[in-house]
Symmetry: none
Subunit: 209 residues, 4 copies
Amino acid sequence: MPSAPISPRKTPRQARARATVAAIEEAAAHILTHGGVDALTTNLVAARAGVSIGSLYQYFPTKEAILAELLRKLRREHLHDLERAAQQGGDDLRSTTTRMIRASIAHHTEAPELARALEAAESHLPLDAESEALKTQISAIWTATLSTHALPDPSQAAFDLAALTHGMVTRAVQAGERDWDNLAARVTRAALGYLHLCTQDDHQPTQQP
Amino acid sequence: MPSAPISPRKTPRQARARATVAAIEEAAAHILTHGGVDALTTNLVAARAGVSIGSLYQYFPTKEAILAELLRKLRREHLHDLERAAQQGGDDLRSTTTRMIRASIAHHTEAPELARALEAAESHLPLDAESEALKTQISAIWTATLSTHALPDPSQAAFDLAALTHGMVTRAVQAGERDWDNLAARVTRAALGYLHLCTQDDHQPTQQP
Amino acid sequence: MPSAPISPRKTPRQARARATVAAIEEAAAHILTHGGVDALTTNLVAARAGVSIGSLYQYFPTKEAILAELLRKLRREHLHDLERAAQQGGDDLRSTTTRMIRASIAHHTEAPELARALEAAESHLPLDAESEALKTQISAIWTATLSTHALPDPSQAAFDLAALTHGMVTRAVQAGERDWDNLAARVTRAALGYLHLCTQDDHQPTQQP
Amino acid sequence: MPSAPISPRKTPRQARARATVAAIEEAAAHILTHGGVDALTTNLVAARAGVSIGSLYQYFPTKEAILAELLRKLRREHLHDLERAAQQGGDDLRSTTTRMIRASIAHHTEAPELARALEAAESHLPLDAESEALKTQISAIWTATLSTHALPDPSQAAFDLAALTHGMVTRAVQAGERDWDNLAARVTRAALGYLHLCTQDDHQPTQQP
DNA sequence: GATGAATGAGGATTCATTCAT
DNA sequence: CATGAATGAATCCTCATTCAT
């Protein structure tokens, strides 16, 4: 269980330094995407980044720090997408939920392997302040969205919807699915069902129970 | 791309050998539960099992084979629980689904850390015949259950419900939740919503959208 | 550097025991032939011989003892072949030499891989009495043969001819040669040249130096 | 059937690195000379070289790569010696052959144990391009030398002479012989005999068959 | 600041050999 | 006597990290 510092060792001030950091992150992301965590070795990252191993350690105190930074970046993007989805459009719960689910899908969609690898690594990572804050904010957005409607426990619902979405999307992506509209529709159906906002209107045949 | 043999090296014939194998599996499960995959070293497993490293390799050709065996055991239990849930009780889709969801919860509930670790490891494991068969059978049970009712694509629904359940349960367990009845109710709500079998009856207030 | 006993642990008296020993030797020879020394593990030998590892150690105190026994067997056969070659036919040096060379070729010819492996292993083996004796006898035969003719140092010549033959044959076999008559002719030419018994008679064109 | 890369992992750029590599090769040669291939363990080599095991693996990807490098060095020297022997002096076949045989003797003479160990190891080694090239060139020199004279199959003769020389020298060295002039004379006699260039002139008494 | 050589603890796996049953 | 389960020293090799230049 590591307890070492997990944030970048020093914030790059000069342009060259910023480029170095970017190269390292890019290299790490590439390796993570194509080879998984097991392939992520500091020496390989440095090599792919075209940087000496010494320089890598100039900016990242440990290997975990690299992973943590990539994870933060991913979460930042996710938060940003969710924020846009929550604000834009009408405040109709159904359509807002749908937009947010689409945003979550997009999150796993751009670089599925990378997202998978980072999330798997998350449990080994000591959580820094920013990561915690991001998680809280993401959760807060869902909660806020759901709070505009009468729900007994909006934060519980937020938690469950995030989990449900994450579970379905992850598995679908893993299974090679690529029809995002179809996937979004299915996830939405489950989510609205959870919220007791059932719909018989979708392109779904009638049922005889 | 894994390719090595993954089944146990030889089947223990004598009682002593069976005890050895059991001790190894138990030790591995314990380590996996408390330290995760990274803590699972063959030497540690052997030590905890009170067995020499040589004995471990008599029965498991590689470290992965141990993981594979534990995974098989987990799936066997899961399959068994699902079968019971599918058969027992009326063929009412709602109650059958509820029972199956409860069975799935139980699957993650007895040893959550172990299940998490094993599932995370699964993608690195070369799947043997039995593992494949178990996966197929588990999937088939869901499909069969859903097929008794008019659904456009039962196998798709089976896939989605399993993913949805898995996602919600995993996260809840991870977050420290222990009220399984409550969890089961929430998952079921999402599942029935997905299946267009909405309910206003649960201990849930009515909503005005 | 082993100094342990190298002769069989006990001489098999009963028929069953003799069969066991034979099976072990056969298995070891097979493995040596097809996989080389590195493939020769005691457990594998026992398995191939259809014998328990415990039984193997009943008859051979160490792995080296098995190799030593195979080597002795090989040398016994070589000695026997050489004896026949030395005795049979006229005592004409040229033809005797030819016959003995043919015998040596045969020695490497029946199971080239085995012979190679055993000879390579020889240097690691503590020499037992019988092996020493066999070597002496083989050398003595060459010496005796050459002694019937006026040579300054028959034992030196014996040594050299054996080495020359061994070197040429080994390499030729290794290179995949299979025309033994041709090989024998070439070796003989070198041998007779060494003995100053030159021949312009072979199917060899005339030379202009 | 070997297939792994066998050339050094990276070429040392700094002086310190070059010293490390040299130390490793020296240590390996020493161990090989005094203990044989079985004594050659990577940890021992590193220890004797006064270098960490990690450093060893910076420059040699596998243990075999070390052997391969030593073998290459040996062959390079052999080739060089042969080239000098072939060029210098008159083009008289007899004296050229003698010089080349002396060169070959020198090859086994400087570090007999090392040469023996390396040659024994050769069959287990995946041959890289340079090794192949060296072998070809060595063989070509013999062939070229013999081609200047009317011989039915110069490349066959080259092969045989190399084998004959190798066999006699190896055995003589092994037997503790140190009088190289005498050895060279005997080998030459066999070689010239093979080539049908017999001599009664050496310090050898006349024979009556 | 940058470089890359060096480090060495740690981890997977093998195999000759012993010994209780 | 036979069996085969158990042993553990020994071996190859990796990779995060440090530090002299």
